[in-house]
């Protein structure tokens, strides 16, 4: 399991809900940053992903390396959790 997971979300984003459901189904815990509630954190999501889109999932592994997954992308999310 990773050391830490942060998800950038918004109030209305259906794909964000799916990422959260997927992580919960795998028993993973995460910190959520909602950019509607914290607009000042938008720039962090953009800096990490290079995209103006949520969800952005930042997985910090045990060795402190980071993997950033943009969107609801199971092909990338599943291996990122191992």
């Amino acid at each position: 399991m990773p050391k830490n997971i942060t998800i950038f979300t918004s109030n209305t984003c259906g794909y964000c809900v799916m990422v959260k459901k997927y992580l919960s189904s795998k028993g993973a815990t995460y910190e959520e940053v909602n950019i509607d509630e914290h607009p000042e954190r938008q720039k962090d999501a953009y800096a990490l992903s290079g995209q103006l889109a949520v969800p952005v999932t930042v997985v910090t592994k045990q060795d402190d390396s980071q993997q950033v997954v943009v969107g609801y992308n199971l092909a990338q999310l599943a291996p990122a959790l191992t």
């Binding site: 918004s10 109030n11 209305t12 259906g14 794909y15 950019i35 290079g50 995209q51 103006l52 889109a53």
Partner: protein, 318 residues
Amino acid sequence: MSENNPVHDVITIGAGPTALSAAIYTTREDLDTVLLEKGVIGGLASITDWVDNYPGFPDGVAGLELGERLQKQAERFGAKIELAEVTGIHPKKGLVEVETTDGIKRAKTVLIATGSDYKRLGITGEDEYYARGVHFCATCDGAFYRDKKLVVVGGGNSAAQEAVFLTRYATHIDMLVRGPKMRASEVLQNEVKKHAGKITVHYNTSTDEIVGQEGKVVSVKSTHNNKSVNFPTDGVFVFIGLKPNTGFLAGSGIELDEIGLIKTDTKLQTNLPGVFCAGDVRSGATMQIASAAGEGATAALLMREYIDHLARTPQVHT
């Protein structure tokens, strides 16, 4: 019937309003039902900001909430939702085999309820700036455009609805409509008019190119009455219609109409035995959540009838 590859009574492809409604009915009829979903449970309804015309919600309902309620109701009666993409289907030995990213699954009946996806413009800059200034989902990406200028392309229901949604973030929206009027319903056109301070509608205006600088979208090049017009903007949201999700059916032999929607008979059955179709992806559908729910329920009852008939008819397996 093997333990690790059981034969389900019903497999639905997709878990949008059509499939979830069907599953409420099939599970209550005690049919073992699995829904396969590659995207968002609740389908397009779940990525729609607000739904005002679904019966039973006099004050309207958030699309995301409606999707979650449908899911809960289907799961309450035993529907199983699996996150996987279907890549092909074919009939085999009186059953239907469904190829998925999670392996092959088998069922007595399959309901294709894959709906549709956003159409693209196919112009310069669209792919290059995808998700970095060009977007197809306002509820997903709109929050990045707080106090920014936007262009919305399209004049139908989705474009009108999403333009109104985006006013909660953007300072101004130029709406580019190709024809001389909007195709959106009267109600939605009136909503757009109510936001006239923020939305300017430009008719007879084509969208020709999305222009960027240093990795960011800066303007949209258009043509209006044979003259070039430039719209400075921070981002572009494209809502020019939908294309049916039927690509995975290539080679299946399922008959499609001229625009790629699936043909069915009056019993919502395709030309393949045991394969039914309902909702937005069906030729002749009215593309609304209420009708999707109605078609889902109808398909469920017709699949029940088909399964009962199978049980009464001796099967010759080839």
